[in-house]
Assembly symmetry: C2
Homo-oligomer: 406 residues x 2
């Protein structure tokens, strides 16, 4: 007997026909004594439709009432999916976030789960029913309905799996696993059988879009294996877990990612005094501008003048520009350059710690392709290079070919 | 200061524009220190749309999952209405059935309210907020979402008014009050300023469609005055309450109603023995066929043979026919006639007790119009006549003209 939590996203349940297909698939893959919890998102465009309704009333589409509104989306899909199971001959029961025991804090629209009391879910499972749980929602201790924000339904699935001590949590999505690179960019990208939580988090941070970091962090915290699979195929998918169990250990890196939502900012000719970096980055932090790669360089001709180069998300660029221009009244610098014509390519892998050849291989691949590296940054399990935007596809393929030969 | 519960139906909140109009009206009529609870139904056709979704999955559109599905309709409208109040500058908070403290029994799709804990509603009112409550829904003691079935939202409104000991409960609808007869049939029908619970119940039972009896019964039980008003006009409407307070006492009857959903059944030539009536009507009762007017007549020629005539709803006619034909094996009768070409016209009024002139006036009006009366039945506060279907409009107008002269 296995206890498995399966999560299907909005595109998997976009129509009544697709809902029936999901129910059919779950029943087909279920062994007779398995206990199954299915977590679903709202159908297709439902959430967007609800947001449009709210916008027809007010500009103020945040706060408590927005969650009251949006939570109905998942409530519709759980009811319909439970009906589909019944239609196919298997007892099922749907549960909203609060019925499934999810309590959250009071941060409406992006609430954090503070607890899960899975008694009712367990009781229904023990009664032989498939339990269908609404993703993305919970209840505050005051009894207000909340939604979990981005990545919410995946997080619901991993949380309920952790609460039930499930064997694992399956996330069904429109791709069939985690790839060594984005297959739309790198046709030879390999699907991984396994990847560690840490690697997955680093890949997500560096541009891989399949999994939201939040659910991976939760999986890591509770050591709950996450199995990423395709809704539309029977491929084996990828397990995200604490450590490798299989032969793929042989690859020192797990993936080559890229991120084009990057702007490079250069604050030029700053007098090198203590507190300069603090002033620049605290100003940005106060305005919630997230800074990524940072390089401070000293000019050969004048050791008291430095250039400060860093990257931010492109959407933050106009605000950063305004904030830095205002700083000019408080500190001296000779120029400010903002360049959106850049992209970041990264290699990720737990195996690179203590393996200096990886950086060399990466830089070598870019050099051989004639691609200039503007900024380099490293973490324990990744190396990132800022390059010219137009060459990002070439760069990712060049690096990928070195680490994953055919 | 007054505490008022206002209920708006689905057609009043069918679009974002109408929702804003409802909010605007509530604020306009609100004195600065009034406390206001607004109960709303699902927007326009939402419930039908949800039922269609369910039907695309299964034929089994009853039970727990159906309530899970349907309850989302009101949850959408409460959120949007609360947003509309906020947009217009007044603090508001929406509450689902369970948040507003409604507990029900476990009769999914037609649950009965078993309790209301209005603490949270009261607390929000005391904090100066308008509270927007979802009609039509509650929660069982096991934590399952239920809906209340027909007349549910009106019932929610009266129940929350009773729970809060509100001053009165206003039901906004698409007509501007209770009329002495259906204005589509009787152009000279008068709008009543007041009517008693008992009269309203009797009128509803006898065909008046404005108010579902359930909410009126609840109002009567808790002595909660119900004010029926139009969403679309400023007319004063009608108060349903225990006793008259105003001049309209002078009318001995309150209304002339009609019901065309009637079939007449005649069981002819039955041997007059003890237990015959019991056998006929218990057979029908076991199959949930509701019997209304009953007349037993003895034949002048043979005092041991009777005819039994009664009425039922037209939808029950085929089943009644089958049941009665089967009875022929157990008891003797010479014939069975079913006539759907009939209608019932009734006069209702608490004032008719001890006023024999009313029956005479009613029969006289029909006689003068040349309309034959097939069956007569009376209650404490009503007289009903079964007549030919084609003449119902004529009959209602003739009777109405006698009791409500211009």
């Amino acid at each position: 007997m296995a206890l498995i939590v399966k999560k299907f996203g909005g595109s998997s349940v976009a129509t009544p026909e697709k809902i029936i297909a999901v129910a059919r698939r779950v029943l087909k893959e279920k062994n007779s004594d398995d206990q199954i919890v299915v977590v679903v998102s709202a159908m297709g465009d439902t959430t967007d439709d609800l947001i449009s309704l709210a916008k027809a009333i007010t500009d103020q589409t945040t706060g408590r009432e927005m969650d009251m509104l949006l939570a109905t989306g998942e409530q519709v899909s759980i009811a319909l999916l439970a009906m589909a199971f019944a239609k196919l001959g298997h007892e099922a029961v749907s549960m909203t976030g609060f019925q499934a025991g999810f309590t959250t804090n009071e941060m409406f629209n992006k609430a954090k789960i503070t607890g899960i009391a899975a008694d009712r879910v367990r009781q229904e499972l023990n009664a032989g029913k498939i339990v269908v749980v609404a993703g993305f929602q919970g209840l505050t201790k005051n009894g207000d309905i909340t939604t979990l924000g981005r990545g919410g339904s995946d997080t619901t699935a991993v949380a309920v799996a952790a609460g039930l001590k499930a064997d694992h949590c399956e996330i069904y999505t429109d791709v069939d696993g985690i790839y060594s690179s984005d297959p739309r960019v790198v046709p030879t990208a390999r699907r991984m059988k396994e990847i560690t939580y840490n690697e997955m988090l680093e890949m997500a941070r560096l541009g891989a879009g399949v999994m939201h970091p939040r659910s991976v962090e939760l999986g890591m915290h509770y050591d709950m294996p996450i199995h990423v699979r395709s809704t539309f195929t029977q491929e084996p998918g990828t397990f995200i877990r604490e450590e490798y169990t299989m032969e793929e250990k042989e690859f020192v890196i797990r993936g080559v990612t890229h991120d084009t939502n990057v702007a490079k900012i250069a604050v030029l000719g700053v007098a090198d005094q203590p507190g300069i970096a603090y002033k620049i980055f605290s100003t940005l932090a106060e305005a919630n501008v997230d800074v990524d790669m940072i390089v401070q360089s000293v000019r050969a001709m004048d050791k008291h003048i430095i250039d400060m180069v860093f990257t931010i998300a492109q959407g933050d660029a106009p605000q950063a520009k305004k904030l830095l221009e205002r700083l000019k009244t408080e500190m001296e610098f000779s120029g400010l350059m903002i360049d959106e014509n850049v992209a970041k390519v990264s290699v990720v892998g737990a195996g690179m710690l203590g393996n200096p050849g990886i950086a060399a291989t990466t830089f070598g691949a870019l050099a051989d392709a004639g691609i200039n590296i503007e900024v380099i940054s490293t973490s324990e399990i990744s190396i990132s290079c800022l390059i010219e935007l137009d060459r990002v596809k070439e760069a990712v393929n060049a690096i990928h070919a070195r680490f994953f030969p055919d």
